[in-house]
């Protein structure tokens, strides 16, 4: 789907006198951890009518160092429904004196077709002063006219970490009788309302926001800094009008965009009937039609005008054999309808870890579409853009999150399946032999289930075997190695989630290091945690952990005769709110048996838990690298 979120720094008429931005005037607290300081930002939206929204943005940002220079570049998008009327800009030195102004000829106009699209009508205007003497300040002012009121700009004064804000304001003026909807996060108080002539204005303001730090596993920005979402009640979008007071309204509008686009060619209809009419079970019909769709289509994104939200119709997909998430979901909907099966088009905020849609405020937060086939006991979810997805399974891209279901009677928020820790397993058994030279040879057999098989599933289906081998070698992270054989068995219909088996035959020369009469072996061959966290006594952001999993590793290694253990690490057992970990090794004769169990939970944890998180992760990191030392008997 199209970029649905408009640019954030979008603002207000400049005052008469040229402003000055001396760096000396920045409060010291705002310099801490900051690479850049927003001196002033004003976002002024004037909604004159459903088809006429004026957006004036003015901002000045002081760039303190090279890392902050990304905030100096200006860019803004435009398309059929959004026109950039003017761009002004100026550059100021550290003392706040203006060095020069933007020349219109310096603005670059570029195509903004995204990587995943064949065609889009989006274009981009871009400018940069390319100043290199720090600190300096850039100021931009733009006027935009939008002929749609389906999406409004969002106000995120602090849209990045390591960026502080001196002052930022949002003003929105709407007709007096218009119901403006808004939702604010991390904002104290309510907006100031000012009546005007036939209008009313809502104003928000923040001052002196210190820079946010770079904190690992941080929760979404709205938990950390001020964000205001604006949304329409009545709106216009292309030739359509609609309402957005609730998710019900939103869904109704999407239903309107999709209306009548489910007509299939007669030939396709006949094929569907030939395919499913003899089947009794609905589930089998759905499975067969999903396979039919997967075999006949592929993902091609073409986004023009309202096409950012409206699917190409089912006949189009049927004759061309391609479409984007909207078109393919709508096509699948039409196939099922022809077979007499009711389904629902679903809008999603997709992306790994993006499972915290704002639920109590109807506003566009979506970037993807899927399909839902409801059933009292066994609702089926279909990802229609993938030719390889197992039937009825949603991976990390769309699972466990609120989504908008579009029904005949409007929209409603429902939840996609939550794949809990217990179903995301990786159970591995390694049997290996280490010889006198320290070379390891062995086999690994791994069962992968649920989200743990997502990566491997994509890997097996989208990459050539030669490249697979290369990637597997990269992933093994052993000093020198060879994969003699690798093989995957797929169980797409396993219950409750798909699973895969991985079989590897590996040799790792010099896996054990031999120094004189000693042999050093790290028994954890293939599953060492890579996450090492820094201390952060002043952690501020809440902690977000997603994608819970459970790993069980059993490793049996035979070592050459004549060695006796000199040092074996002690058993490790850790427990924390974030999960559990246990690792132990024992040596019997010339055989090492190592067992490791890791359970990682998910959740939103307060920042105060960070020390515990650090301790847990770092202890695991260390324990995963524990080794056993053997010494050769004389």
């Amino acid at each position: 789907m199209k970029r649905l979120i408009f640019l954030l720094l979008v603002g207000v008429q400049a005052s008469a006198a040229d402003p000055e931005y001396p760096v000396a005037a920045i409060p010291p607290a705002l310099l801490k951890n900051a690479n850049a300081v927003v001196r002033v930002q004003e976002l002024h939206i004037d909604m004159k009518g459903l088809k006429d929204m004026r957006i004036v943005t003015r901002y000045a940002v002081t760039i303190l160092n090279e890392s902050g220079s990304k905030h100096a570049a200006f860019y803004d998008y435009y398309d059929q429904l959004r026109e950039i009327k003017s761009i002004k800009g100026a550059l100021y030195d550290a003392s706040g004196k203006q060095i020069r102004k933007l020349k219109q000829s310096e603005i670059k106009d570029e195509s903004a077709v995204s990587d995943f699209s064949l065609m889009e009508d989006d274009r981009l205007k871009r400018h940069d002063f390319y100043h290199r003497t720090y600190p300096y300040t850039v100021e931009y002012e733009t006027e935009v006219r939008s002929t749609q009121t389906f999406y409004f700009p969002r106000w995120i004064p602090q849209d990045d970490i390591l960026l502080s804000v001196q002052e930022s304001r949002l003003n929105i003026t709407v007709p007096a009788d218009y119901l403006l909807r808004y939702k604010q996060f991390s904002y104290k108080g309510e907006p100031v309302q000012t009546p005007g002539k036939g209008t009313k204005t809502f104003s928000w303001e923040v001052k002196e926001l210190p820079a946010l730090e770079d904190e690992p596993m941080a929760a979404a920005l709205r938990y950390r800094t001020t964000v205001v979402y604006l949304a329409p009640s009545d709106f216009s979008y292309g030739t359509y009008t609609g309402k957005m007071n609730s998710w019900d309204d939103f869904g109704r509008f999407v239903g309107l965009l999709n209306a009548g686009r489910d007509v299939l060619p007669e030939k396709t209809k006949a094929e569907i009937h030939a395919l499913v009419d003899d089947l009794k079970e609905d589930r089998e019909k759905i499975r067969r039609l999903y396979k039919y769709m997967q075999e006949r289509t592929r993902y091609i994104s073409i986004q023009l005008g309202v096409g950012g939200f409206q699917p190409f119709d089912a006949t189009y997909v049927s004759t061309k054999g391609y479409g984007d998430c909207k078109a393919l979901s709508n096509y699948m909907y039409a196939l099922l309808k022809e077979a007499g099966i009711r389904s629902h088009y679903v809008l999603v905020q997709a992306g790994q870890g993006k499972n915290d849609l704002v639920e109590d405020f109807a506003v566009n937060q979506f970037n993807h579409a899927i399909l839902c086939v409801p059933s009292a006991k066994d609702t089926i979810w279909l990802e229609c853009t993938s030719q390889i997805s197992p039937f009825g399974y949603l991976g990390q891209f769309t699972n466990n999150r609120p989504v908008l279901l579009v029904t005949e009677n409007g929209g409603k928020l429902v939840y996609t399946p939550d794949y809990r820790m217990e179903v995301n397993q990786q159970n591995r058994l390694i049997k290996a032999v280490i010889n006198e030279q320290g070379h390891l040879a062995g086999s690994s057999r791994t069962q992968l289930t649920g989200m743990q098989q997502d990566w491997y599933h994509g890997f097996v289906h989208s990459i050539s075997p030669e490249k697979q081998l290369e990637i597997l070698k990269e992933r093994l992270n052993l000093p020198s190695y060879d994969i003699k054989k690798f093989h995957y068995n797929e169980f797409p219909d396993a219950s409750p989630v798909p699973s895969m088996d991985e079989l590897l035959d590996i040799t790792a020369p010099n896996y054990a290091s031999i120094s004189g009469k000693r042999l050093f072996i790290v028994p954890n061959v293939l599953n060492r945690s890579g996450a090492k966290l820094d201390e952060a006594p002043n952690r501020k952001a809440p902690i977000r952990l997603s994608n819970p999993y459970r790993d069980v590793d059993t490793v049996e290694i035979a070592i050459p005769n004549g060695y006796t253990p000199e040092s074996i690490f002690k058993d490790v057992s850790l427990e924390s709110p974030f999960g559990k970990y246990a690792a132990s090794a024992k040596v019997e004769g010339n055989k090492i048996t190592y067992i490791r169990v890791m359970e990682r939970r998910e959740g939103l944890f307060p920042a105060t838990e960070y020390a515990a998180l650090e301790s847990f992760f770092n202890s695991v990191y260390k324990a995963d690298r524990s080794r056993i030392v053997f010494v050769k008997g004389e």
Partner: protein, 675 residues
């Protein structure tokens, strides 16, 4: 017809054979039979997601609306073997425009064929499904995707490009990312145009022949008419020059896979390209287009979009130059100051460009420009300061090689500056923010380069001549609490110093040292981190820090890997075979020493044995030496090569050599508590 075929270097193999058996591809547009779908696996590349069944192109001269035009025809037949090959159904055709001249796309046809119930079913591309994207002022992209593509589909694409740029003859790549069963290119050249042919790669031609004939062109030619200059008229002229048709065919070309240590695959894939050498119209003297280096440079020196403006007095620079060089002690100091000024105040927006798109004055005031614009500004400022400066043209590693023999403009993509002071030449590049005076970026070490002056002085920036030395020292001694403290010092190579500076600037020193602490490979607490020469860009950076080593005593034993963060942990040469040369950035010389004072109550139980391994009869050496004197433990590792480039035949021994390094670097020192 005087066409010269040139064999370039040892990397080129031009095998020619004339054969009468099957000298045409069996593929014809629209002639797809059920039989064609049968084969789904090709031994040429068993993992291929698609196979190019035929890729046939031709370029011919034709009568245009004004003078000659070029007609380029392309026909491709592709079989999609699996879903990963769907990308090949998306096609982009780039068209060039300049002023009133353009390339236009004609006769576009594209069809998908599927085998349904034993019958071939075709679906045609609709003309309205072809999109036009205007990329920039000079480039238009025609984009489309074929309908109804499934696993096993065969697709065909055919089109013609009419070009009003008759001198630019399209090159041809016989090799790509997918196996090609039949790749053929044909060019038909009237005798007026003499091109040199440059071919490269490791695959033989299946057919390589040429054929002479005569052809009549009806040209419209502009002419001055009437009295004085009353206007420009066109007249029709009919000419019948001799034409030569050249044809090259390769069969069964497996793809070349990208691996590490390569300048660019473009230097290695089987391809042929062309360069106009001269124009010979009847009754006119021969106009050499590409003749000698001095001629080429003379033109570049006059070119208003290149060095032309350097001959102006450029008065607008005087005030700034005067300020910058004020108080300079000598010429060298002047040059250094001007260089630093441009480097520190200008931003490069395009690192691959030869021609200036804006005036020198605009570059000066806008403070940004492409690599040539900025380094030409540097030259201009040096000249204003009365220094003997000139631009140097080169090609970066990823852009491909420059032929020392042929002055071909398109082979260059980069400009640096040269200043001649007291019998010395210094090269400078003001576009890279952390380079020092007289230094070039690693990307520029790509062989042949030329100075833009009357003599067209040849220069060689050979990676083989670029020694890159790294020196690391680690000192460890026991502390009073039964642990160890240590000191780490590393003088980075010059190339690594550049990336180090870049990283530190972007992330900050704290984050940089935090990363070092994590990557030390033994649990340490790092302190007093400092980077010497961080801002003295002409010198290698020196990283230093103290650390507290937290080695666990395991039952009276301490085990440690003496290489710590500096161990080579895996062999950089991963593939079992190599089909093209190994091209390193520079000649490595990596030195590491450890001095460790033993704790009173410990003895050395074991330590790695000293080893010296030679590569290729002493062309490279790996020394790993250990020793103990009293309570001091000494260890030294040195990996030194003498070349940066290695042939595919040397690959196996190079790989084995590095295997030994990896193995030795993994060995441990064992300390035992005295009982």
């Amino acid at each position: 017809m005087p066409t010269r075929n040139i064999c370039l270097g040892t990397a080129l193999m031009l095998l020619s054979c004339t054969t009468f058996a099957q000298d045409k591809s069996p593929a014809r547009f629209g002639k797809v039979s059920a039989e064609d779908f049968k084969q789904t696996r090709y031994d040429l590349d068993t993992g291929a997601s698609a196979v190019i069944m035929a890729d046939i192109g031709s370029t011919a001269f034709d009568s245009g609306s004004e003078w000659f035009e070029q007609v380029y025809k392309r026909y491709k037949r592709i079989k999609i073997l699996n879903k990963n090959g769907y990308d090949l159904a998306d096609e982009e055709i780039y068209l060039h425009q300049q002023g009133s001249k353009e390339e236009s796309l004609q006769h576009l046809k594209a069809v998908t064929y599927n085998l349904e119930n034993g019958k071939v079913v075709e679906t045609k591309l609709e003309s309205k499904a072809v999109f036009t994207e205007k990329l920039d002022k000079n480039t238009i992209i025609k984009k489309f995707t074929l309908p109804n593509v499934k696993e096993g589909s065969i697709i065909e694409i055919s089109y013609t490009i009419n070009s009003e740029f008759p001198y630019y003859l399209r090159s041809w790549a016989f090799q790509g990312q997918h196996p090609v069963l039949w790749s053929e290119y044909e060019v038909e050249l009237p005798e007026y145009y003499e091109y040199i042919f440059l071919s490269q790669g490791y695959n033989p031609f299946y057919i390589k022949d040429s054929e002479n004939s005569r052809k009549t062109y009806n040209l419209r030619v502009r002419s001055q008419t009437g009295y004085g200059y009353s206007g420009v008229n066109s007249e029709n002229v009919s000419v019948s020059p001799g034409v030569t048709r050249h044809r090259w065919v390769m069969k069964d070309v497996a793809p070349l896979k990208e691996e590490g240590f390569v300048t660019t695959l473009r230097n290695h894939i089987a391809s042929i390209e062309f360069q106009l050498a001269s124009i010979r119209y009847p009754n006119y003297p021969v106009q050499p287009v590409m003749s000698t280096w001095p001629k080429f440079m003379e033109e570049m020196m006059k070119d208003e979009e290149y060095a032309g403006p350097l001959t102006n007095n450029n008065g607008f620079l005087v005030r700034t130059v005067d300020e910058v060089v004020k108080g300079a002690s000598d010429q060298l100091d002047k040059a250094k100051r001007i260089y630093a000024f441009v480097r520190d105040n200008y931003t490069c927006t395009d690192f691959s460009a030869v021609y200036a798109k804006q005036s020198l004055k605009t570059t000066f005031s806008k403070k940004s420009g492409n690599v040539s614009e900025i380094n030409l500004l540097l030259v201009a400022m040096l000249k204003v300061a009365d220094l003997d400066a000139a631009p140097v043209l080169l090609s970066t590693r990823d852009h491909g090689k420059v032929y020392a023999l042929y002055p071909i403009a398109a082979r260059f993509n980069y400009t640096v500056a040269n200043v001649h002071i007291a019998e010395h030449d210094y090269q400078m590049d003001a576009t890279r923010p952390y380079l020092g005076f007289g230094k070039l970026h690693a990307d520029c070490y790509n062989g042949h380069a030329r100075m833009v002056n009357a003599e067209a002085v040849p220069l060689a920036f050979e990676p083989d001549s670029l020694r890159e030395m790294e020196v690391t020292g680690v000192f460890i001694s026991p502390d009073e609490k039964g642990g160890f403290t240590g000191h780490f010092q590393q003088q980075a190579t010059y190339l690594n110093s550049y990336s180090l500076r870049e990283k530190v600037r972007q992330k900050g020193e704290d984050a940089y040292f935090k990363e070092l602490e994590k990557d030390f490979r033994a649990p340490i607490k790092l302190s007093n981190g400092k980077i010497d020469s961080l801002d003295r860009y002409s010198f290698p950076a020196v990283v230093e820090y103290d650390f507290k080593l937290d080695m666990e005593d395991e039952n009276g034993m301490i085990y440690l890997n003496p290489m710590f963060s500096e161990a080579m942990r895996s062999n950089p040469f991963k593939s079992a075979v190599r089909r093209y040369p190994v091209e390193m950035q520079a000649v490595p010389d990596v030195n590491y020493t450890l001095s460790m004072q033993l704790p009173e109550n410990y003895t050395v139980e074991d330590m790695p044995k000293s080893t010296i391994v030679k590569f290729n009869d002493g062309e490279g050496v790996f020394q790993f030496l250990t020793g103990q004197q009293g309570n001091m433990l000494q260890m030294r590792s040195r990996l030194k090569l003498s070349r940066a480039t290695y042939s595919p035949e040397e690959y196996e021994s190079l790989r084995q050599f590095f295997d030994i390094v990896v193995k030795k670097h993994a060995e441990q020192i064992v300390l035992k508590k005295k009982s």
